[in-house]
Symmetry: D2
Subunit: 246 residues, 4 copies
């Protein structure tokens, strides 16, 4: 399976507290645990926003089975054209895993936000959160306990402006009194999308928390299952159907 880790890679380079949390960068931390703990047949590729075409070349997307996407401050600087490439590839069968603040990416707004949405409430008080498993025995929750605690993260809270999830996988509790649909899964065309909330850039969650790593690895297997370049019959109304009967 071909996995592309896409990272905005801005705060990783220019913001001290993020550099302190992720000296190896966020994509580096993710790549490290995928290589150390992931499946043998996983090919890991890194693409970052500072690369040509924002690291979202069509040829790279065409060669990707599952994409992990982390972004935050530069969403608006990703051209619509590139974000739509991601959406189209998902419809063809690519898996997409949106991490933390990727909820506000253009790709997320196209795929799970009804074009406009994906807004939420947030605050940065470095508090813990408790992630509750709602979809028991789902491929994404395989081996995940009924609940686990992330010791420090940003708080994301309802209202969360998302398309009705096909599957509600996790709900998160916060000590400040909020709740959040923190793990949500969708089918889009022949592809799949999973959003997962943990992973604020100032905490080494992706490097250090086993449960978060396990969820991401489960999500890769789920999203990559049967990943393909699906050939739809007469897709997009571009071509003409033929009468079958009698």
């Amino acid at each position: 399976m071909k996995i592309t880790i896409w990272n905005e890679n801005w705060q990783d380079r220019f913001q001290d507290d993020v550099k302190a949390a992720y000296p190896e960068t966020i994509h580096g931390a993710i790549a490290n645990f995928l290589k150390a703990r992931g499946d043998k047949d996983w090919e890991i590729r890194i693409r970052t926003m500072d690369m040509e075409e924002c690291g979202l070349k069509q040829e790279d997307l065409d060669d990707t089975d599952v994409m992990l996407y982390w972004g935050h401050l530069k969403h608006k600087e990703v051209p619509d054209e590139y974000a739509l490439r991601i959406a189209e590839r998902v419809h063809q069968g690519m898996g997409l895993i949106l991490l933390h603040s990727a909820h506000a990416s253009k790709a997320a707004k196209y795929l799970i936000g009804g074009g406009h949405g994906c807004g939420l409430t947030w605050r940065e008080d470095d508090e813990h959160e408790r992630v509750w498993t709602i979809a028991h025995n789902h491929p994404i929750t395989k081996g995940i306990p009924q609940a686990f605690v992330v010791p420090a993260d940003e708080t994301y809270a309802e209202p969360f402006h998302i398309d009705t999830p096909d599957e509600l996988i996790f709900i998160t509790w916060y000590p400040g009194g909020e709740v959040f649909r923190s793990g949500i899964a969708y089918r889009r065309g022949a592809g799949k999308v999973f959003y997962f909330q943990p992973g604020h850039e100032t905490f080494p969650i992706y490097r250090e928390q086993k449960e978060v790593q396990d969820v991401i690895m489960n999500a890769i297997r789920w999203a990559g299952e049967g990943c393909s370049h699906y050939e739809f019959i007469n897709d997009n109304g571009r071509s003409h159907g033929t009468r079958i009967e009698p």
Copy 2:
């Protein structure tokens, strides 16, 4: 309730067979049955693509509770900016009823097509179709029989590239061997979207078929219920949440 009928109004003016089917234009035919058979408190407004800003001015959208949308050949000529105005208003609480070939409009792709989708299979053989009620006792199917026949229409068929519907309202059968999810309902933010397949431009379906008129009027009441300019708390992550618990 303030209802805006939006029509591309191109084939209505320049294509002979459409002018023959709808001498009063498609929006005119819809307006006529809404006025003749609709609720007393319905205010009907017409907007067409040949008007300023494609008939999609922000002030008109802000003053609309439910929009009916018919378009076909000129979807690509509606600027993204205007289509996104529709999506944002839906998220605020406006109802949107997408008619027939509006499945391929930019508004539909943003709201129910995952940015990319809404493709389908189609053919024009002037055949009848049988529309089956799936969601019994739903507001949209109130008074609608278990099945009804549209004597002649374009054939729309699966695969239909749509976000998983929140509610599957109708499935249509075609003599050519196809099936189609012809009535599908969604919540998007505080608003609602309903897509309904019947209504090819060369057949006077909106003027002549009572069941189709009934479905559209039911959909207006459903989509307009509680329509509003919903004030979300900390919408879109623009503002900062406050800790609630001590």
Copy 3:
């Protein structure tokens, strides 16, 4: 609209702390606010488990548009036959509103628990809970704030063994670290079911908390909309379909 309030009416009579919280009984408290604050056309009927046939006579069900159901300790003493009457009436179009511990009733297990389920985690520590609105602009959340606090209630927590809800309306936060899908809506045949968590028998929630009353009244309007004795064609495979096409 004909509304039947069904109550187990056991703790109301024989348990001191419940008699203290509800001197007028739980069904009495519900009837009082429905009469004081509900719609003019609502006819309120009381049925309790100590009546003939557990207060679930077929003729009463047939004459009910929306049933409110509160039960707790005596679920197993309601014969399967009577619980199935409720399920059948819901499929015909009756609305059913399951309150608090009614989650474990036989009617709930049949209608929203896959025959077996509706289990949950619970504890009685008299703590407050915060109910979050998830389905914005839904008929059941009309006028309900983004979140409201119930000052003291029993704690119900995930895992909650329910059929996947058609609509997730509320999620509740508890200070003990739990979350719960506290407001869930379903279509069953031609009818509707809504489960709502607040309302432990030792706190006067139904009498005193306006938001809880508002949700219940909204749910009655939602569940009763189009309530009927729906005539399905060839229902239950008892009769034979006829070929339609020549």
Copy 4:
């Protein structure tokens, strides 16, 4: 993976046209293709209604990962107690595949029929049907074409009285003018349920039609994935939750 094929095994023994279509019995035909074409690690067990406890002993269910269920004329003779064993095992994580007329079994009514339902319209005119794939790239549709024809089967038609499917996998078209949600998937507790329509007892569909065999084998893999005896925390409210936060 341990697979139990359960068959009513009545018409197989006593009805001539069924004996002619399935001289090896229906469970025999299913077992044959599972052994010939299935995965190496599949252990196939046969249980029939004429065995002790209707072939539904608790020990057999406890030792089953995925159960295939075919029944028709004798549904009412399966005691509720045994049908509830099936429902409970599904909630614990067993997969259940309901074939053709199993829609009317007690197990189906408990698990996907809201206690009452699962009715449909039917007729026996020995016509062909066209099964359309709706859920593209779903594990159950892996390798299945956009549409395939079953040359002769019983006609099952809407209205189909089922709980809203978690996933709509197939829709079937009939030459008589009907449509039917012929492939529907559900999560129930920690388990999964799939209903699939093809397979009337008088046609050798299970023995002869490769696409139907492929769907059933895909469904076994899907339903068996992560199958388990799931240990829920405080399941069924029988035990008491503990406060987590200090």
